[in-house]
Amino acid sequence: MSKELIVLDNLSKIYDGCTTALNEINLSISRGDWTSITGPSGSGKTTLLNMVSCLDKPTSGSIMIGETKINDLNQTELTRFRRENIGLIFQQHYLIPYLSALENVMLPMYYNNNKDESIAIKTLKRVGLGHRLHSIPAKLSGGEQQRVCIARSLINNPRILIADEPTGNLDQKNGRVVLNLIKEIHEAGNTILLVTHNSKIAREGDRIVQIIDGKVSMSNMTVIN
């Protein structure tokens, strides 16, 4: 089995034929690594994350995740691949407002044809929300909502956890709780790709990749450009 889990080869994304968000990025991420992606606003960090999350398609170049060439997948295959391999944590803790914490966590399981509620309960307990299973998002604090998102991202045992500013909307205390959870997940062997403005959080990872103007400008471990 190759050590590299994600390989981006000359990856470019150009919006509307003129705005270059990513410019021929070459990057490889190893299995089990925590890679922090930093850079100024509009540098292309989130675009890069969307490509790796299979939420968006590149204009040119290729993405390999494991043995799968993402470029070759159609929309349905991309959805299935994302569901089975990638856990997503957003900056705004997107949750379905009328579903309970438990139901929100079970949603990706339902899409994956898994109805085992006990797994969802166990995962919510793991993020410290065993007592808020049946609360709807409006009844949860920001930190709790983000923890539900983390539980949801983990529910299908993804190989990669992708987090876009996961502590961006949280106070310091809740931010710390969420960060500790991510560290735990990393220590359990998951590959983590985390976008952050916060250099302190970035340093929690094994490696920092800085993106400026759509290009990888620096990596404290590996630079392929």
Binding site: T46, N50, S53, L55, D56, Q75, T76, T79, R80, R82, R83, E84, L88, F90, Q92, Y94, L95, I96, P97, Y98, L99, E103, M106, L107, P108, Y110, Y111, N112, K115, R152, N156
Partner: protein, 410 residues
């Protein structure tokens, strides 16, 4: 999980749900009313046909005589014509004679009935009850009102026959239920009838008839008795004919009878119900047009409501897609939602439609309609189809949502 999402999302958007259901209700109420009225009236007419053993009525052609002063025509009078009793057998000489199951002549005359000091003007009807006639080829043919209408006429007591010997001064009769009630008569009672203060007959009640029709107001005696009392030998007013219509159109039989007896008109019962049928058809046509317009408006209304609902749920849909919902899962959620809206709207529309049908029926036909349960599945199917059609465009929009744009806030 699917039903949890469905239930909670519908509950969350009660307002939109109610608007969509109201749109469906408005669209299907008219077809529900239309189907109910139409089926009920058809059933009633059908029931009348079934009850009415005879399906041809033979009447003499009437002469219309214009009446006026000088050159000015003021009105017209009808010269009373009769059918000659001796021509009745000709009905059985037509090419379709095997299809003629039976017939009965009728002679009507208003007479005065007297009982217990009470006098009443009543229609006396002479007819054949069960008469053994001889056809042209010498064969016997048992016919009469009992042969063609026995299961339509409900008789308390006994039928009277034509084969008995009649004593014209005192004979048996059958009376309609309304006559019995009005004159306080019962089985076995004897009363007298007088025609133009001249001839008087004593009649003993053998049977009381209930048909739900005009027969309930008549006194029935054998044809010979009526002819004797009214001094109209061989005269009859009408003949009811029961013809078997499988394999030949009733109109052909009617026209053949008209050829055989050239001074009569043979009318099918269908012709006689034409007025009711044409009113019904006009209503049906108008309602069909209104229904189509209403359903189109409903389609647009529901489609707009669902589109608005989907736009409101853009982030939710994008999130579902981002965490692994395939298009078919998203589509099935909205299709089920639409189906539920259709079923709910259809059911309420059916109930309101029945009330509307009562209003239409009382206004136009002066009678209540019975709820037709068969209309319910029809309306539910129509409502569901409209609702599902209305959801096609909104669902397409939902499936075109790009999660990356939605989650970015675009």
């Amino acid at each position: 999980m699917f039903y949890q999402i469905l239930k909670k999302s519908l509950f969350k958007r009660k307002g939109r749900l109610i608007i969509a259901v109201i749109a469906i209700v408005m669209g299907v109420t008219i077809p529900a009313a239309m189907f109910t009225v139409s089926l009920d009236v058809n059933n009633k007419i059908g029931a009348e046909f079934r009850k009415f053993g005879a399906n041809l009525l033979i009447v003499p052609k009437s002469d219309i005589i214009p009446v006026g002063i000088g050159d000015i025509s003021l009105t017209s009078v009808t010269n009373q014509q009769y059918i000659n009793e001796t021509d009745i057998y000709k009905i059985k000489t037509i090419n379709w004679s095997k299809n003629i199951l039976g017939y009965a002549p009728f002679l009507y005359q208003v007479i005065t009935a007297k009982s217990n000091g009470q006098e009443q003007q009543v229609v006396l009807t002479g007819t054949w009850f069960e008469k053994n006639t001889t056809l042209e080829d010498g064969t016997n043919f048992l016919t009469g009102v009992r042969r063609i209408n026995s299961w339509w006429w409900s008789v308390e007591g006994n039928w009277i026959g034509d084969l008995e010997f009649f004593n014209f001064s005192s004979t048996t009769c059958m009376i309609g239920i309304n006559v019995a009630k009005k004159m306080n008569l019962s089985l076995g009672d004897i009363f007298s009838v007088t025609y133009q203060d001249e001839e008087t007959l004593s009649l003993e009640i053998s049977g009381i008839i209930t048909t739900g029709g005009t027969e309930d107001n008549h006194i029935f005696v054998p044809l010979e008795v009526a002819q004797y009392l009214t001094e109209q030998t061989n005269a009859i007013h009408t003949i009811q004919v029961s013809a078997l219509c499988s394999g030949c159109p009733i109109e052909d039989i009617a026209s053949e009878i008209e050829s055989e007896i050239n001074y009569i008109e043979a009318k099918t019962i269908l012709q006689m119900t034409n007025t009711e049928m044409s009113i019904l058809h006009t209503i049906e046509m108008m309602m069909t047009i209104v229904t189509l317009i209403a359903l189109l408006a409903t389609l647009l209304g529901v489609s707009t409501t669902l589109t608005t609902s989907i736009l409101e749920r853009k982030t939710e849909i994008g999130l579902m897609m981002s965490i692994g919902a395939e298009n078919r899962k998203i589509a099935s959620l909205f299709l089920t939602e639409s189906l539920l809206i259709g079923v709910m709207g259809g059911f309420i529309g059916f109930i309101i439609g029945i009330l509307g049908a009562q209003f239409v029926s009382i206004t136009v036909f002066n009678s209540f309609v019975s709820p037709q349960l068969i209309v319910l599945p029809i309306i539910l199917v129509i409502a569901s189809i409209v609702s599902l059609f209305a959801s096609i465009i909104p669902i397409n929009r939902a499936l075109k949502i790009e999660p990356v744009l939605v989650l970015r806030g675009d």
